[in-house]
């Protein structure tokens, strides 16, 4: 009975309350949060496309939102979450091929992922808006 209760109270992975934060743990948990956020974002994009089917009138409200500052902020945030996901996914794929396991290299690639995601967001926005 006591053992069962102890099992119930065990912390869930990745033991956020126990370990000290490192770049690797920060990226790992951010990656998981971003995965869920991107799933919601892509679902919203699906609803956006489905709204097109119902004609220009039903699309108008979404169009007004996307033209507002909130709409721009939403799209730029999406750019960042996708950029972060892409860069961290490339980092994971490199690990799977056996590269970048060294602690120092892992920290450097982690920092590149964090700062690179912001740079990539700006680049994507500029390319998308034909500002290059």
């Amino acid at each position: 009975m006591k053992e069962e209760k102890q099992y119930e109270n065990n912390p869930l992975t990745p033991h956020l309350q126990i370990y000290r934060w490192h770049i690797s743990s920060l990226l790992s948990i951010t990656h998981r949060i971003i995965t869920v956020v991107n799933l919601f974002a892509i679902t919203l994009i699906c609803f956006w496309i489905i709204s097109l089917y119902f004609g220009p009138t039903s699309y108008e409200a979404i169009h007004l939102f996307l033209k507002s500052y909130f709409g721009k902020f939403f799209i730029i945030s999406l750019c960042w979450s996708f950029s972060f996901h892409v860069l961290n996914e490339i980092r994971h794929l490199a690990w799977d091929l056996g590269y970048g396991f060294d602690l120092k290299v892992s920290k450097i690639t982690g920092l590149i992922t964090i700062f690179g995601s912001f740079v990539l967001t700006v680049l994507i926005y500029l390319i998308g808006k034909n500002l290059f």
């Binding site: 496309i49 699309y59 996307l66 709409g71 750019c79 994971h92 794929l93 926005y125 998308g128």
Partner: protein, 109 residues
């Protein structure tokens, strides 16, 4: 091959395919998100954007559902709740892109 190994391999292959598609999609999203209704219809109904976007949706939902199911694996203790959550997730990951792709192919200029 163990089911977990298969799942891991599917996740990795889909991830490798998803990276270029995600970059393509987000660049195009930035260029079209403020466009008028007719421009959007043209974008989603002409090739190659229609085909690329449909592929992006299928791979993205496939990959994200596998990844979110891994999160369920780590955070949900109760086996029954975990199984229900996984089943709902997989049904959602099939239905959502399917409806959207059907919509795209039924859009009229």
């Amino acid at each position: 091959m163990h089911i977990s190994t298969k799942k891991w391999l599917f996740q990795k292959y889909s991830s490798a395919i998803l990276v270029p598609l995600m970059i393509w999609f987000i660049i195009n999203l930035v260029s079209i998100f403020q466009s008028e209704y007719s421009s959007l219809i043209i974008f989603f109904t002409t090739q190659p954007s229609s085909l690329l976007f449909s592929t992006f949706l299928i791979i993205a939902f496939f990959f994200l559902s596998l990844t979110v199911s891994e999160i369920f694996e780590d955070y949900i203790h109760n086996e029954k709740i975990k199984n229900v959550a996984n089943k709902l997730l997989f049904i959602f990951a099939i239905i959502m892109p399917l409806i959207t792709i059907l919509t795209i192919f039924n859009l009229e200029i």
